[in-house]
Symmetry: C2
Subunit: 216 residues, 2 copies
């Protein structure tokens, strides 16, 4: 049976989009939030949209109930959130979709992260978990439009090839094509490219993604 998926910070737009697609694909999804009432309310909305199984819970309960946990929090709260969840995340595959971005004077740029990236910050706080990075750039608007055929690739970084394969399955369950790009040290470039895509979105008034050319 496919593993249950928890989404930490899952009440945001990105979390809702992921939850809708995964639950539609038959995955059991638990939306986690600091506010479990809000999580349950959003979960009910998403379940109605997707016709699938979506529950709401605290972040800790959500992590305890799932084998795969997606981090979809704002970067600001990431350190405190994952540090508090280290026990519940033990032996889990934790997939960071977190983007350390700032907007200042109309310019988009990445925040400096001592560990190199949001995903590596999570890995540093979670010595008992396996950490991957993915889902940074999938538009929540397009995810929530369940009839939309996603035509972009989802780059996936993780040190272990088997973990990358698990995330590629999650991509397929979104209706998208994942591409295994290599070790977690590449996460900073996946996170950073979000600044390019947001700038392209602004210049062309679109929802841009990327696709890799030249793949076999």
């Amino acid at each position: 049976m496919a593993s249950a998926i928890a989404i930490v910070g899952g009440t945001g737009k990105e979390g809702r989009g992921l939850a809708a697609r995964w639950s539609r694909a038959g995955r059991a999804v638990v939306i986690g939030s600091r506010d479990p009432d809000r999580a349950r309310s959003i979960a009910a909305e998403v379940a109605e949209l997707s016709g699938g199984s979506v529950l709401g819970a605290t972040n800790a309960e959500a992590c305890a109930a799932a084998e795969v946990v997606v981090l979809a929090t704002p970067f600001e709260g990431l350190d405190a959130t994952v540090s508090a969840l280290a026990d519940q995340l033990q032996d889990r595959l934790v997939v960071s979709a977190v983007i350390p971005l700032q907007f200042a004077d109309g310019v988009i740029s990445t925040l400096t992260v001592a560990e190199g990236s949001a995903a590596e910050l999570a890995a540093a706080r979670l010595p008992g978990s396996r950490v991957a990075a993915a889902f940074h750039n999938v538009s929540s608007k397009l995810l929530l439009d369940l009839d939309h055929q996603l035509d972009e690739d989802i780059p996936v970084a993780a040190d272990d090839a088997a973990d990358r394969e698990l995330v590629l399955e999650l991509c397929r369950d979104l209706g998208a094509h994942g591409v295994s790009v290599g070790p977690l040290s590449l996460a900073r470039y996946l996170e950073g490219y979000t600044a390019v895509l947001l700038s392209v979105n602004r210049l062309y008034r679109t929802q841009a993604g990327i696709r890799f050319t030249g793949l076999p």
Copy 2:
């Protein structure tokens, strides 16, 4: 008439590939090198391949002869090279294709650049020039295969929209599709994504590029 193009550090594989495509498109190209004899010898080879106009010269002579100058040096020599060429690059559009990468223990990563990126380092040394960033990831092998239809996009960063337009024309003359992504501060992400593409090349034994989805 289309501007002449100089390629600083143009005797490398990337420089040769760009020179071949631009000269075939009817552009006058000057390959610059610290070793002008080597530049002339490579220029003759490229001209024979492309049937176009390719000359070899010192880097300084090449910059003096052109309105658009592409930087295709290794990152290591960039600072010294552009600092020495500041006079000749005055009032030029300078396009940095330089990638600050290192390979250590089989892992590809970017070098830390105090200015943020190789392109911004060049801009800091060239107060009298306009600086753009592009051409980081176009495979030299595919460029030199003149019959190959490039199917990837070339992201172009520059602060001035008119400069980005000039670089988009250069992309067209390569037979490729350029995409204006925004200001020069995005150059670090374009440079950094090269690490992802090189890792993908290694995992899939290919020459990967990227294409933007969702563009109008």
